[in-house]
């Protein structure tokens, strides 16, 4: 009974706390601007099935794909076992599903166990890849102590989880022989069926019960800790990969989102539409993005979904040739800035109010927020200017993140709102505007054709 009460308290507290953390992530994502991304649901579900469930894009690199698949399928399957732990924990029963599932029960558990062993091997391999083999994408400059620690913590957490499962099942198998009264025979488990007797066969009943409970608690506590750790970790992708692939932009990659404000103004300037009465308010309009609040919410969801795997950076032509740009860093910066803005809004301190809202008794929201900083404090111009818009990063990302989109939004801000940007571009702009060509050349545009006829 005591165990049931302790269990319920821990579970409810952990879920409540996790709920709060996830709502914060949601709020931070919604710091971004609205963008409607719900067209063509058929295609969207297809993306979720193929890319998130099916791991399609992972299979561009076979070794990590197979290793990742083991961990991923083991993760999905253990949910069955987890559900049973919850029922057992709340109602003080033992292996609740066993009598109902009959012969299916040992088959399911065996399946989970085999996958767990594969996941165990994969986890060790991943730890080795990260820490022993010098795979360059894990050691770029943006991979500071925290991202590295984060990656290792999660892998160690996975090992703990697996140890929990095998202690629990292994001790249970032995107990089924010693005390069939309480530990009903469940049929043969593929791994613990022999590993259990091997490891714990020599113990007395008291020791076995302790091991069984230890494994059971270790399993559930690791899961709950994991749930609360995810929102501050790159491992949030195990949740966000699904919505993120669903909401991925479906338009052609080649299309930069149109800016109707600019289009309409240019149209009226060119006399194509009757001059719209542009009620120019005092504030100059802002174009593009300089902060998380002017990015699309999807850019921020991308940032929270990013697993920091660096596939994007490892194919980026700018990064490969030693430029400062790293698409992964762009995503990490957006996430860090979203966290910063979120925390400051939560602090409710009035010094973060916009100047014109200061004397009024407004609550701090994303609309009146101004801490004197912006994304440009995280991302330098040099990084933005190095991008060739080659889309290699977009192609590489296994969870359909688009690192190029925020880069272009920041470029728009720099050029349109700040009238800044590389000096080299100015002659090109002027030339396109005045003579309709990227180069200022006095010749007629069809001179080549006339020459060709002549020759």
């Amino acid at each position: 009974m005591l165990q049931q009460i302790v269990f319920s308290i821990i579970v409810f507290y952990a879920l409540w706390n996790a709920g709060k953390l996830y709502m914060r992530v949601r709020r931070n994502i919604l710091l971004g601007k609205d963008e409607d991304l719900t067209d063509n649901p058929g295609k969207r579900w297809q993306n979720v099935m193929l890319v998130a469930f099916g791991q399609k894009k992972m299979f561009k690199r076979w070794i990590p794909a197979v290793l990742h698949l083991f961990i991923y399928v083991a993760f999905l399957m253990t949910q069955v076992e987890l559900l049973e732990i919850f029922i057992d924990g709340f109602f003080g029963v033992h292996r609740f599903f066993a009598p109902y599932l009959g012969i299916l029960y040992p088959i399911i558990i065996s399946f989970i166990e085999i996958l767990s062993v594969l996941a165990f091997i994969a986890t060790i391999a991943f730890l080795a890849r990260r820490n022993v083999l010098k795979i360059p994408r894990f050691h770029k400059s943006e991979m500071t102590w925290w991202p590295k620690l984060d990656a290792n913590l999660i892998l160690l957490g996975e090992l703990t989880l697996l140890i929990g499962i095998f202690c629990m099942n292994g001790a249970d198998v032995v107990l089924q022989k010693v005390d069939p009264e309480h530990y009903h025979p469940t049929g043969f488990f593929a791994i613990s069926g022999w590993l259990g007797p091997l490891l714990f066969g020599w113990m007395n009943e008291g020791g076995l019960v302790i091991i069984e409970r230890f494994g059971w608690w270790l399993h559930i506590l690791t899961v709950l800790a994991f749930l609360n750790y995810l929102p501050i970790s790159k491992h949030l992708h195990i949740m966000l990969a699904f919505p993120n692939t669903w909401y991925a932009r479906l338009n052609s990659r080649g299309e930069m989102p149109n800016m109707p404000e600019v289009m309409n103004e240019v149209k009226s300037m060119m006399g194509l539409t009757p001059a719209a009465d542009m009620a120019m308010d005092d504030e100059l309009p802002e174009f593009g993005a300089n902060d998380v609040t002017s990015l699309s919410w999807k850019n921020i969801m991308d940032a929270y979904t990013c697993t920091e795997c660096g596939r994007c950076t490892s194919v980026c032509p700018a990064n490969l040739t030693g430029k400062k740009l790293s698409p992964r860093k762009i995503l990490m910066d957006i996430r860090d800035r979203a966290e910063e803005v979120g925390n400051k809004i939560d602090s409710e301190e009035t010094r973060y109010l916009k100047a014109d809202a200061k004397d009024k008794a407004y609550a701090l929201t994303k609309d009146n927020f101004d801490d004197g900083k912006s994304l440009f404090d995280y991302i330098t111009r040099e990084e933005l200017h190095a991008c060739t818009t080659c889309n290699a990063c977009v192609e590489a990302c296994p969870v359909l993140i688009n690192p190029l989109d925020p880069i272009l939004r920041l470029r728009r801000y720099e050029i349109l709102t700040e009238s800044a940007g590389p000096q080299d571009w100015v002659p090109m702009f002027t030339s396109v505007e005045n003579s309709g060509s990227v180069w200022q050349i006095p010749d007629d545009r069809d001179k080549w054709a006339k020459d060709a006829v002549g020759s």
Binding site: M256, G322, T389, L416, V438, R445
Partner: protein, 248 residues
């Protein structure tokens, strides 16, 4: 175009020449070669001539939406006035912008890249190729970002090359993984950001590693970049950079 329409003709296609095709010495040769092919195939076509303006791709990607909208809306006015339906481009950037970005501004056309068009003509038997100077040579093909990764055209150019009975060798990074030449996103019009190496050099080295004597490409900017790369590697006498339509 104006002349053709004045003569009461309604040409099947519009050849969109682009800034490079109009002004860049190398790309002009591609424009001329492509026109010759069209003539041979008996295709009625027109160009906009002085009425053509930059599609606006580099301005837009640099972030200058105003300049983009100005030139794009101008072009759309012209194209719609002539009731253009089908456009062929030799430049992947023009192709992408006309195809994917003009619809949102009110310009809807069927847009194809010249490699696709050449293949159609071959299938219809309107043109044919012989290996000629290319027979037996080792050729490697560089995927431009805007034809390859952005618009998903990988096989058509390769099939065209194979018709020239040469030996097609792939670079280490090809198709979806093809490395950029370094010109896109308006990089063509500015100095590189500080780094260890220029992107075109990295790509050229990769191309040279295949041992190919010819590097085939489909984009005037890639050609400039790779040609510069080949020069920098002092291989200009033994390795050629060609557009797919050229020298057919």
């Amino acid at each position: 175009m104006a002349d053709v329409v004045a003569a009461g003709k309604n040409p099947e296609i519009l050849f969109w020449v682009g800034c490079a095709g109009s002004y860049d010495a190398r790309a002009q040769k591609v424009s001329i070669a492509f026109c010759k092919i069209l003539n041979k195939a008996g295709i009625e076509y027109a160009i906009l001539g002085k009425e053509e303006s930059c599609t606006g791709d580099p301005a837009r990607r640099a972030g200058n939406e105003f300049v983009f909208q100005m030139t794009a809306l101008q072009n759309i006015e012209t194209l719609n006035m002539y009731k253009v339906k089908k456009i062929v481009c030799t430049c992947p950037h023009c192709f992408n912008t006309l195809k994917n970005e003009y619809p949102a501004l009110g310009g809807n056309y069927e847009v194809i890249h010249h490699t696709q068009f050449l293949q159609q003509l071959m299938e219809e038997g309107k043109i044919s190729v012989q290996g000629g100077a290319f027979s037996g040579k080792k050729v490697t093909y560089h995927d431009s970002c805007y034809i390859g990764r952005v618009n998903g055209i990988y096989e058509v150019p390769r099939q065209l090359l194979e018709k020239l009975d040469n030996q097609l060798v792939e670079m280490e990074r090809g198709k979806e993984r093809g490395l950029c030449c370094g010109a896109g996103g308006a990089q063509m019009f500015k100095e590189d950001e500080p780094g260890d190496k220029r992107i075109n050099i990295e790509r050229t080295e990769e191309a040279l590693d295949t041992g190919a004597e010819i590097i085939a490409a489909n984009c005037p900017f890639c050609i400039t970049m790779l040609q510069d790369g080949v020069k920098a590697k002092e291989k200009q006498d033994s390795v050629m950079v060609y557009d797919l339509s050229h020298r057919q």
